[in-house]
């Protein structure tokens, strides 16, 4: 009796484990395939069906991408956005969220409603474009940071986190002689580190992936962030637009990028931001639950 139970148990955990391994393989395989393909010789890609291990390894795709002068430039732009932009975003979002979480702030409700309005109604692209243009920000990297400095949603999420910090802590700090600013810097921020890191990651990913604003606001090629440059290098225009236009653009002489190049571009565009995750993992796990439970 007891023996058969353990046998069943074993079978269960065996099949359970097996299924889970299969499942995770299904997740890992596309990533593996992308990476392997990016190192494959282009001719080999055309002639073989499915490549699990290339016969000829090749760095051609990377050589082509990294040998492009504009490429290095665009990486720098993207890094600038991901660092400076993230810091500024955190400062603005954190500052605003903290302010409205302080109960004695006057017009707190009105401010909350105004923030709420911004994420219920968005004004749209054309007004945004006109504002950016009239501020003279066209072709400036700041056009990629200032309009997206913060979002109402993040402010409210962060406020929820600050709310969970007991008021008595703040009082104690004040008794010990802290000013308003130093309460924020010395007490609130260190205590909210998980939230700060989590939001920092959200912002960093967002800035790293800057695309739509950049195609609208940046004309000069040497100010393009990475994603726009890659898009321009790699997407064949024929798949866009459609209809009669597609018919015509099929005729353009442009040589189509090879699949291996596309894969190399995917690797380059994702790896740097993926590398950030392991370092922030421990904070991130906590931070992602911000606002999910309120005590």
């Amino acid at each position: 009796m007891e023996l058969s139970l353990t046998w069943k148990d074993r079978l269960f955990s065996l099949s359970n484990g097996g299924l889970l391994i299969l499942f995770s393989l299904a997740m890992v395989f596309p990533i593996y395939y992308t990476i392997v393909l990016s190192f494959t010789d282009p001719t080999e890609y055309y002639t073989r069906d499915l490549i699990l291990w290339p016969h000829h390894w090749s760095l051609d795709a990377y050589r082509y991408l990294l040998g492009n002068g504009l490429f290095v430039n665009s990486v720098l732009i993207s890094l600038f956005l991901a660092t400076v932009g993230t810091l500024l975003s955190l400062l603005v979002t954190g500052g605003l969220a903290y302010a409205i979480s302080v109960r004695r702030l006057r017009f707190r409700r009105t401010m909350m409603v105004m923030i709420l309005i911004t994420f219920l109604f968005t004004p749209g692209l054309v007004p945004l474009y006109m504002v950016v243009r009239n501020l003279g920000l066209i072709d400036s990297v700041w056009s990629l940071i200032l309009p997206s400095l913060t979002s109402g949603w993040y402010v409210l999420l962060m406020k929820g986190f600050f709310d969970s910090i007991p008021d008595s802590l703040e009082e104690a700090a004040r008794i010990d002689g802290c000013t308003e600013i130093s309460v924020f810097w010395r007490i609130i921020i260190p205590l909210s580190l998980p939230a700060v890191v989590a939001f920092g990651l959200f912002f960093a990913v967002g800035y790293w992936n800057t695309y739509f604003n950049a195609i609208m606001f940046i004309n000069e090629q040497n100010k393009w962030p990475l994603q726009v440059l890659l898009q321009n290098m790699l997407v064949d225009p024929t798949t866009m637009g459609g209809g009669e236009n597609a018919n015509i653009s099929v005729t353009m002489n442009r040589q189509m990028p090879t699949e291996t190049l596309k894969m190399a571009a995917v690797v380059i565009a994702t790896v740097p931001i993926m590398l950030v995750y392991p370092f922030l993992q421990k904070h991130f796990a906590k931070g992602a639950m911000v606002g999910s439970v309120k005590e």
Partner: protein, 510 residues
């Protein structure tokens, strides 16, 4: 997913345009008075322009060709390049915000926003000026000017593009046909037989039946509907009225032809989900007998096949005909994209801008844009222009200045860098034969609001159904039911009526 999001964003965006444009027009009208362009006649004129650029690297005003243009036309150019993959959204936003450069490029004259703005008188009517410029009014460009008229007037300077040689139409592996002793197909039955032979008779000679006779996907098979209907585009002229081809009996026959070919294994199995670039990948690998491309791909893609199969010969076919003997070959408008000058530009400057385009469309300017400076970027040997190493440094060739003004020559659609003489000469022969064939395209360049509003959805419904029938996920009976329903569909009728009206209006103004 992303596509869907983009689409819904676009729909929403169009709605906001309507509101925005009123305001923006007011604003742009206010801003107009301040600028006066007529300065000292000897000082270079500043011209702001914007256009597409297919190059991977955009040039700026330090480029020698750019400078040469400025010098020869006494201008100071301020060109904003648009990346073709993202231009559509950007142009729409610029139109809506009233942020119009002095020379505004729009990819299609049928852009609804543009049509509205033309109606509101935002742009200069250039009709009275054109005749004063010898190069602009040259015979080679005459068709382009007629075709781009809106209500009988020329509001735009079209960007020339050859009418023949482009469009997705079969290019086949001539070496395979020769090996199997096959003739170039001219009917759909022959075309079927050629592809069938590709499948069964082992043209690549490796002993395995691994050939994919035709690297097709749903989009690239569009020409089949054209062949069966005997027209290009989505409209057919019947009793002086435009009728949509999707509900025609001939389209059903075309669908059955494609289904027959798919069932016979002549297309890739994942036909329904392949992207265009993936079909091209199949061809490049040397395992496929052909696909639908423009003629320059005889070399653009053909040279890539040769890297794998050195004896490969990739040859465009001239035409295909239907059972009634109507010949079909693709052709397009004699231009691609238009330049418009907003009214805020003073008349004196409009003339300067036209002068610039007159130079660029002349022989000298035209060659400068495409080949660069003689003796620096190319040398002439036996009447052919041979590029020097400097040409690559100056970014001469495809893209950049050449995208501002295209070369007035079929080479735009049939030539390619490095194309050997035999391939080029054969392409010239084929394109000249194609030019003898005038496949009607009655719906071409007609503007209808109902069409923009309703037709895409109807067309998508039908093409989804077609794909399902082809791969066997749905029956032809259900297709018939859908078509029957569409024949009595009031919105489709409204679209057809508007198109007919637009057609007659266009005929009268010609």
């Amino acid at each position: 997913m992303k596509r869907q999001a983009e689409q819904s964003a676009r729909q929403w965006f169009i709605k906001t345009l309507v509101v925005a444009v009123g305001t923006s027009l007011l604003l742009s009208a206010c801003g107009g008075g301040g600028k006066s362009g007529s300065a000292d006649s000897s000082a270079p004129t500043k011209i702001q322009m914007q256009t597409l650029n297919y190059a991977t690297e955009f040039i700026d005003n330090t480029n020698p060709i750019w400078k040469e243009f400025e010098k020869r036309t006494n201008t100071q150019l301020d060109i904003t390049w648009l990346s073709p993959t993202t231009s559509e959204e950007k142009i729409n936003v610029m139109l809506a915000s009233g942020d119009l450069p002095e020379v505004t490029f729009v990819e299609s004259l049928l852009n609804p926003q543009l049509q509205k703005m033309i109606g509101q008188g935002v742009f200069w009517d250039l009709t009275p000026f054109i005749k004063d410029y010898p190069n602009l009014s040259q015979p080679a460009l005459a068709e382009m000017w007629t075709d781009s008229k809106v209500d009988g007037k020329n509001y735009s300077i079209p960007r020339y593009y050859p009418s023949y040689g482009g469009g997705a139409f079969p290019i086949l592996r001539k070496d395979w046909m020769d090996k199997l002793g096959l003739q170039t197909p001219t009917t759909m039955d022959q075309f079927f037989d050629v592809l069938k032979a590709f499948k069964e008779k082992d043209p690549n000679g490796n002993g395995q039946a691994d050939e994919i006779p035709y690297a097709a996907n749903s989009d690239t098979m569009g020409f089949v509907y054209g062949v069966f209907n005997g027209v290009q585009g989505a409209w057919k002229l019947k009793d002086d009225k435009l009728v949509p081809t999707i509900t025609e009996e001939a389209s059903r026959d075309a669908l059955l032809w494609i289904k027959k070919a798919y069932d016979a294994g002549l297309f890739p199995k994942d036909f329904a989900i392949l992207k265009y670039s993936q079909t091209v990948d199949l061809i490049r690998g040397g395992k496929s007998g052909g696909t639908s491309q423009s003629m320059n791909h005889a070399w653009v893609t053909g040279s890539k096949i040769r890297e794998v199969v050195p004896t490969a010969d990739y040859m465009p076919i001239t035409y295909l005909q239907n059972a009634e003997g109507e010949k079909y070959t693709p052709s397009g408008s004699p231009y691609y994209g238009v330049y418009l000058i907003p009214k805020k530009v003073p008349e004196a400057k409009v003339k300067k801008i036209l002068e610039f385009f007159d130079y660029a469309y002349g022989k000298e300017g035209n060659e400068l844009a495409t080949y660069g400076i003689e003796g620096v970027d190319y040398t002439v040997e036996n009447g052919r222009k041979i590029p020097t190493p400097q040409a690559a440094k100056d970014q001469v060739g495809d893209g950049n200045m050449n995208n501002l003004i295209h070369l007035i020559s079929d080479d735009m659609s049939i030539g390619a860098v490095g194309m050997p003489d035999d391939v080029y000469n054969r392409n010239v022969e084929i394109v000249n034969e194609r030019k003898q064939i005038k496949t009607p395209n009655p719906g071409n360049e007609l503007y209808s609001e109902a069409y923009n509003k309703y037709y895409p959805e109807i067309s998508k419904k039908v093409s989804d159904m077609r794909t399902k029938v082809i791969i066997g996920k749905d029956t032809i009976e259900n297709y018939d039911k859908l078509i029957e329903q569409l024949r009595s569909d009031p919105t489709l009728k409204q679209v057809a009526d508007e198109m007919t009206e637009a057609y007659h209006k266009k005929m009268e103004s010609k």
